[in-house]
């Protein structure tokens, strides 16, 4: 069976990031085609494609675009390249290998939505990726793809600005991203109004993930129906799944959006290291509720994972084998959210470090019998009580780990030590190769 590779087909090809290489592979013909279409026809094509946001929320892209108020100008596009959800490492490779695919997707989006200025908000730690993207943008300006007359059209000007962040997970949250773009600390905004109505500088703004935007040239070229047909139900296309942890071949795998999680781990990734058993899998970035090894025979599609009590999130899949101390893993996750809480809302600012503290004492052999329930209580008081989803993101791992691995927590408390100490955390596995879109890294 030949697989359709929309995004990763040229990863690893020498010089794939250069304009000449992209053009030789047919690049920018989708933009030419789009420019011959009425903007509303493009929006309809994207609606028909069932493209859903690849950043985490899985919101229908065409519908998001349709929320822009009809009369208000200027409008802006902010591309979210903040890629900071633990376990997620796909957007960086799109930028490294196919920056022009992203630029072409940006131009299509801007033409479809009458936007003249786009920002790419890229996380500060992506120094190399920023340089590659800046280089590609400079090439595109020189070739007349960006600038006052996009591909020669006198009625379409487009500027694209790379805006580097400076180290803050919260700036991947769309309204915090806008605050950061406006030159402030990244405090999420109360919604409504949603960014589509009042976003950057108070103007209507579309915010889409890098992978979402990079799919647009293919959708223009092959049609929305063809993209929808690659997926299932309300989710079209392929998706980049990032697999890390205890598998033989970690990496980025482009698969149909509804691919089976167990098959991905056991076949594509070559199974678990040392043929051990799967103990736990986080299927959509560290915010996503954990699955046990018995629960992984499931479709990765957004609604299917939701039905399984978790979420497809950002496509970051973290696999832990049966030697792993899940208390220690959860402690590290809790520390992350405590570190990254922006401090605006009390439940998250106070609750996240509190959970970290309880987990720290359980892992250190100082846990009290009521601690698992105390964790659930604190988590329950954060979720749903904050301005942005970081509060939920901090609560969900705690709730799911305690629920599904309660015996591990109770053993720590009863034995007054970590029963997995020693080999359980951080086996050095330095010999593995990563497969990044089928390419050895």
């Amino acid at each position: 069976m030949s697989e359709t590779l929309i995004l990763t087909g040229r990863w690893g090809v020498s010089g794939s990031h250069a304009l000449a290489s992209y053009r030789a592979a047919g690049g920018y013909s989708a933009l030419e085609k789009a420019l011959r279409m009425a903007p509303v026809a493009i929006v309809n094509e994207v609606k028909a494609s069932n493209l859903r946001g690849r950043g985490g929320a899985g919101f229908a892209t065409g519908l998001k675009w349709a929320f822009l108020p009809r009369e208000v100008r200027p409008r802006y596009l902010a591309v979210n390249a903040d890629e900071s959800e633990p376990g997620t490492f796909k957007d960086r490779y799109i930028i490294e290998y196919e920056p022009h695919m992203l630029i072409e997707g940006i131009a299509i989006t801007c033409w479809a939505n009458d936007i003249r200025l786009a920002f790419v908000y890229i996380r500060g730690e992506f120094a190399k990726q920023s340089r590659i993207l800046e280089g590609a943008i400079a090439e595109a300006y020189q070739a007349g793809i960006l600038g006052p007359h996009v591909l020669g059209r006198s009625d379409f000007s487009l500027d694209v600005v790379v805006h580097r962040g400076a180290g803050a997970y919260i700036c991947g949250e769309e309204s915090a991203l806008l605050e950061s773009l406006e030159g402030k600390k990244g405090y999420p905004r109360l919604k409504p109004p949603f960014p589509a109505v009042a976003g950057l500088y108070g103007q209507p703004t579309i915010i889409n993930n890098v992978e979402t935007i990079a799919n647009l040239p293919w959708i223009m070229q092959h049609g929305g129906a063809a993209f929808a047909a690659l997926g299932t139900g309300k989710s079209g296309g392929t998706r980049l799944f990032c697999v890390s942890g205890h598998v033989n071949r970690p990496g980025v795998y482009e698969k149909p959006v509804h691919y089976n999680l167990k098959r991905l781990i056991m076949e594509d990734c070559g199974g678990v290291l040392g043929d051990r058993k799967v103990k736990a899998v986080i299927p959509g970035g560290s915010s996503a509720p954990v699955l046990t090894g018995d629960e992984i025979d499931v479709s990765l599609e957004f609604d299917a994972l939701k039905a399984a009590g978790t979420m497809a999130g950002s496509g970051g899949i973290i696999v832990m084998d049966d030697s792993t101390c899940v208390v220690r893993a959860l402690l590290r996750i809790a520390k992350f959210y405590a570190d990254e809480s922006c401090g605006q809302c009390t439940p998250c600012r106070e609750g996240a470090p509190w959970m970290e503290g309880i987990l720290h004492r359980i892992e250190g052999g100082e846990g009290a019998p009521g601690d698992p329930d105390r964790l659930l209580q604190v988590a329950g008081n954060i979720g749903g009580n904050t301005i942005c989803a970081l509060g939920d993101a901090a609560a969900m791992p705690v709730q799911s780990f305690v629920k599904k691995f309660r015996a591990d927590f109770e053993r720590h408390i009863a034995e007054r030590r970590c029963p997995f100490a020693g080999e359980a955390w951080g086996k050095v596995q330095e010999s593995r190769e990563a497969f990044i879109g089928g390419v050895r890294a």
Partner: protein, 173 residues
């Protein structure tokens, strides 16, 4: 030492004029990219330039950036202290930042971090006695497939091993 006057005029050391000229020249290039009436949007790049030229974001640097962008020094300070890549205090000549998030730790990052601390004789956030290196643990760097990973002076190094880490440390001046 930061005090409640930090960031107000005259609070910091005077900045070398030739470096201020460099700062202004680089900032002018950046400002061209933002809408003319939205200069404040350039605060992150402005602080990044300032940090590179002046070493760290002392009150006088924050004041300079704020003045150029038409915002208050307090707001520049608020931004500088919110983002983890900005340094308001001096650090070593090199910054070594190792990811210890879950995927990296499942590949041994905790042990590398411990080894680094022993080798450099510093704790998390510490600077070596000779001022050569500042070491700290950081959050996920999006290198989970090629874990463990670290940043050395902003450049990402992946698929770390103990030998690789020791070699890289040895090459830092």
């Amino acid at each position: 030492m930061p005090n409640r006057d930090a960031g107000s005029p005259g609070a910091g050391q005077p900045l070398p004029p030739e470096e201020v000229v460099r700062f202004d020249a680089e900032l002018a290039l950046v400002l061209k990219r933002y809408p003319q009436d939205r200069k404040a949007s350039a605060i992150l790049p402005a602080l990044r330039i300032g940090q590179r030229i002046f070493g760290h974001l002392a009150p006088s640097v924050l004041e300079l950036a704020a003045l150029r962008l038409g915002i208050s020094p307090a707001r520049a300070r608020e931004v500088a202290t919110f983002y983890s890549m900005f340094k308001t205090e001096p650090t070593g000549r090199h910054l070594v930042e190792i990811c210890t998030n879950v995927s990296c730790c499942l590949a041994g990052a905790d042990r590398l971090f411990e080894a680094l601390q022993q080798k450099l004789k510093v704790g998390n956030g510490g600077t070596t006695a000779d001022g050569r290196c500042t070491l700290r643990e950081v959050e996920c760097l999006a290198s989970c497939g090629t874990a463990p990973a670290m940043l050395v002076d902003d450049e990402m190094i992946e698929r770390l091993t103990l030998e690789k880490v020791e070699r890289i440390l040895g090459e830092l001046e």
